[in-house]
């Protein structure tokens, strides 16, 4: 069934057992919403120099948006900003592919669990759900590290 390509087991697992959920100490906090469906996320980033020491979040929304935040936490915490930015850009590329990008080995290595969202890119109404926490992270990072970081993550 086509639905299974969207709701991969790994997505449903993250949805049911989210990683790193809950708000903790941070350098900046943002609140992002998806006005079409009411998904919301409050996200904080904590940096140690240019290393991400924590991404904490609280939100409500569909399985895709909530699982995506959980995967983001898994992937980005402990990474250097440059590496995190590469992951974010690769994820954005995948989500904007309209289902036309078949993830190769390099992409899978970069995205790990996030590669499971490939099927979501076929559903235009849901792409925003998957990207919600990633856009929030980008925004929070710009706020935490200042305009220089905004330029480098643009």
């Amino acid at each position: 069934m086509k639905l299974d390509s969207m709701y991969q087991e790994v997505i449903l697992d993250h949805y049911k057992n989210p990683h790193g959920r809950g708000l903790r100490d941070g350098d900046a906090e943002v609140h992002h919403v998806n006005p079409t469906c009411g998904d919301e996320i409050t996200l904080r980033v904590k940096y140690d120099g240019t290393t991400i020491s924590d991404v904490s979040y609280e939100g409500q929304g569909c399985s895709i948006s909530q699982a995506s935040a959980s995967v983001l936490n898994d992937l980005l915490v402990g990474k250097d900003l440059a590496a995190a930015r590469r992951i974010q850009e690769t994820f954005l590329e995948l989500m904007q592919s309209k289902g036309k990008v078949e993830p190769d080995d390099a992409m899978e290595e970069t995205l790990e669990d996030a590669v499971a969202f490939a099927g979501v890119s076929k559903y235009p109404a849901r792409v925003k759900c998957a990207l919600l926490s990633w856009m929030a992270w980008k925004d929070a990072t710009a706020q935490a590290l200042g305009p220089d970081a905004e330029r480098t993550t643009a």
Partner: protein, 423 residues
């Protein structure tokens, strides 16, 4: 689709024959599943009769209205103005000149807000006056009034909601006061389905000399409309929810108000004479219809009104009430399902919002879509209602004259599948 036993127990239904008028209802989606269209509060489907009227207008009569002397211009004008006659009769307006064509209900409501913002006394909304709406309004009946309040300094007040999805009018005398200039509220809620008690609100508004504007977007398609019986000053609705095309809406307003109130949009059609220093305006309704209007769309709305009237709005109301009663009964059998809004079919329209356990409506809608079932998910442009009931969003199934009990059975089966999928 198989006809399930439920059909036998539901009275007052319109016949299956109606569905044949709507070509899209035969559409198959997702590998051969016949579409089950339960998103009628967002927009209705269009019968062949309306599609034909649109095609015939463009194929045979297309011209601009009210200006040419050639035969096509005269035909187009007659068809456009004929549509106005049909609308006037459909809503029992005392005069055809009280029917203003707009592009949708949002524009109609914005037009009222702007008439009052620019009006002279006694209509003028300013910093010493109050505007009253309700917590169950569509954003289109909230934001124009917020804008007006911000621009004039007027105070915006509203009626809250009860736990069972009705207006809380217990403090009506404090909400509507001598300072109130306008009370604008929805006749049938697009998210809760609630049918509101017009008379009580109009009576209080009249006591204090406030104008009344009614958003009938979810009422005009579904029940007989009589603007004189409503005793409102303005009534707004849209064509595309009542079998007409998109791009055509209606504002009905009482004649003396339309004569007194200033125009909002300026341009062609709405003038009497123009000089470089000033202009005088055409009488209503043209005063409020600047520019080339949505001509074909008005003609399409006229065809939709012919279609609905031939069936009979009282029969459509009875059909939808029966369908809604059946839907409420079946939906309350679904475990973990909570209806947001009145829990019975009494004083309720054919839109039913609900939550399903803690499964997000977006996920509910996606799994239903895979089964060919089209519902709306989200906050339905009525976010304050979601905030009021502490929920992020709802799933909404909404019915129309072609909806069948079998489609409701399909929805209930679909919801069972949703529960299993996320269980």
């Amino acid at each position: 689709m198989t006809q399930l036993p439920g059909l036998l127990t539901v009275p007052n239904l319109l016949g299956e024959a109606i569905r044949k008028d709507f070509p899209i209802l035969d559409r198959q989606v997702h590998d051969g599943r016949k579409v089950v269209y339960l998103d009628n509060a967002a927009t209705s489907q269009k019968p062949r009769q309306v599609l034909d009227a649109l095609a015939e207008y463009y194929e045979r009569h297309n011209a601009n209205v009210h200006r040419g002397v050639h035969v096509l211009a005269e035909e187009a004008t007659a068809l456009y103005e004929g549509a106005r006659d049909k609308v006037a009769e459909f809503i029992n307006a005392p005069s055809r000149n009280e029917v203003i064509f707009t592009k949708n209900a949002s524009e109609s409501l914005n037009l009222v807000a702007n008439m009052l913002g620019w009006a002279d006394e006694p209509y003028r909304v300013d910093h010493e006056t109050e505007i009253v709406i309700t917590e169950m309004e569509h954003h289109s009946n909230i934001v124009p009034w917020q804008l007006l309040a911000q621009r004039t300094g007027a105070k915006l007040k509203w009626f809250g909601l009860t736990d069972d999805g009705r207006l809380d009018l217990s403090n009506i005398d404090e909400v509507i006061t001598e300072k109130t200039k306008i009370v604008s509220f929805v006749l049938v809620s697009n998210i809760l389905g609630t049918v509101n008690p017009v008379e009580a609100i109009v009576r209080r508004a009249q006591e204090v000399g406030a104008l009344v504007c009614i958003d009938a977007s979810q009422a005009a398609p579904h029940m007989p409309m009589d603007v004189q019986a409503l005793q409102a000053d303005f009534v707004a609705f849209t064509g595309h929810k009542m079998c007409g095309p998109t791009g055509i809406g209606v504002l009905w307003g009482r004649q003396e108000l339309l004569e007194d109130l200033p125009p909002f949009l300026g341009g062609g059609e709405m003038i009497e004479t123009v000089s470089m220093s000033s202009s005088t305006y055409a009488p209503a309704p043209h005063k409020f219809e600047a520019g080339t209007p949505p001509i074909a769309q008005a003609v399409g709305l006229g065809a939709a009104i012919d279609y609905l009237s031939a069936i009979g709005m009282d029969k459509i109301l009875a059909h939808e009430h029966a369908i809604t009663e059946y839907a409420v009964k079946r939906l309350t059998e679904v475990p973990d399902l909570r209806i947001i809004g009145p829990a019975t079919a009494e004083d309720r329209g054919a839109a039913i919002s609900f939550t399903l356990g803690d499964i997000h409506p977006h996920d509910v809608g996606q799994v239903l879509d895979e089964q060919g079932i089209a519902v709306r998910v989200g906050h339905h442009c009525a976010r304050p209602v979601c905030l009021r009931y502490g929920i992020p969003a709802t799933t909404r199934a909404s019915f129309y004259l072609y909806s069948t009990p079998a489609e409701i059975d399909a929805l209930v089966d679909g919801l069972e599948h949703v529960r299993n999928f996320f269980g």
